[in-house]
Amino acid sequence: MVAPMLTEKELWRVLEDVKDPEIPVVNLVEMGIIRSVTREDERVTVIITPTFTGCPALHTMQGDIATRLKQAGFSDVKVTVTLSPAWTTEWITEEARAKLKDFGLAPPPRHTGDFELVLVESAACPYCGSHNTRINNTWGPTPCRILYYCDHCQQGFEQFKPL
């Protein structure tokens, strides 16, 4: 089989179809998880980085990327993992942040590297916008989420943890 004539730019667009397995409203490109895509003749190499080091979804992501590229006609796909530079929530695009909020997941606050400073600010409730909120737990259903409670609309919600 001959691999299709897609430029690297077009490959990035194909990879936008691959959703985050734990947050299916956003894709791996806009989450900053896919770090590079290179093409050498028939072979496509994708480098990804986990959000959290122990992220249990990493293998699923690798499989989903390979599956999508195979659908696009590439049989020689290599997905490798890099740990450096460390992933940060600063890499999540504005568009993805808006999607997270619509999903009911408060986007991570912006920070300039020292995120411990923003941890003292309360998250805005994704349902009513109130800042009258408090942390119930620093960990939620996944390591990357903080459990909050909104005292204004009396609703529990989650925030993507700044990192």
Partner: protein, 254 residues
């Protein structure tokens, strides 16, 4: 890389991986048993983080030895005998009560924070990169455990007395974290590893006031005789549990 340096680095990476893996396993024993649901979730996530961190150090260890970074960590955890583990024995002690596990986690989190901050400047690029990454996640651990230490220390008479009992039992073991391995001097010389004495100084300067302000008395304890190469009887029991399935089904895969 010269052989001496390579052996020393492999040994140090193995010790760092073992610290995380063994503590992660002990923490995971709280899954379904923590005193409140929120803490059950939190501690299970901390356990998951530590096991993830173990994988990072094990992968670097594997690369150095020319082994497969993806599969070799499983070999290390599931197929080694007790005598080959190189973690600090502090981390293999049975989980005890909630106070004991929480305090141990805090002692280790703070040690790790100091160590990782220094390793971020390591002359070895892979180690520096991993240290930056793991260090950020550790901030959440430290904030969590230090808050619980304070809360339990200043809480009720019972919570304070349980914390004091835990501290009396754990304190003799803390030196195990700072005793160098035989090859460490070589690594310190070339700027790969920080001086563990310096790590200890920073650690003590942070931990002593926090414990004291949490109404806990730091014991005048004689350091334990255990080391990274001389373990307590609890390690064999821990491995009986951790390696049970692999021993029963050596060729199993899932």
């Amino acid at each position: 890389m010269e052989n001496d340096l390579k052996d020393a680095l492999a040994a140090r990476l193995l010790a760092m991986g073992d610290d995380e893996a063994i503590l992660g396993h002990r923490d995971s024993e709280w899954c379904g048993h923590a005193p409140i649901l929120e803490e059950d979730i939190a501690f299970a996530n901390i356990a998951l983080d530590e096991i993830g961190h173990a994988q990072v150090w094990y992968a670097l260890h594997a690369e150095l030895l020319g082994e497969d970074a993806a599969s070799y960590p499983d070999e290390l955890v599931y197929r080694r005998s007790a005598g080959a583990f190189r973690h600090a024995p502090l981390l293999e002690l049975p989980k005890g009560d909630w106070a004991f596990s929480m305090l141990r986690q805090y002692l280790f989190d703070l040690y790790e924070s100091v160590m990782l901050a220094k390793l971020a400047d390591s002359q070895n690029e892979s180690i520096a990169g991993a240290a930056i990454r793991i260090g950020r996640e550790e901030i959440y651990h430290r904030r969590h455990t230090q808050t619980w230490v304070r809360r339990l220390g200043l809480g009720t008479e019972e919570s304070n007395s349980r914390m004091q009992t835990a501290l009396d039992a754990l304190w003799p073991h803390v030196m195990e974290l700072f005793r160098p391995l035989s090859g460490d001097a070589t690594l310190i010389e070339v700027g790969i590893l920080p001086n563990l004495g310096d790590v200890q100084t920073v650690w003590e300067a942070a931990i002593r006031p926090w414990l004291t302000e949490s109404n806990l008395a730091i014991p005048e304890a004689i350091p334990s005789n255990y080391t990274r190469t001389h373990h307590t009887k609890h390690l064999a029991t821990l491995l009986d549990d951790l390696q049970e399935v692999v021993r029963l089904y050596p060729e199993g895969s899932w």
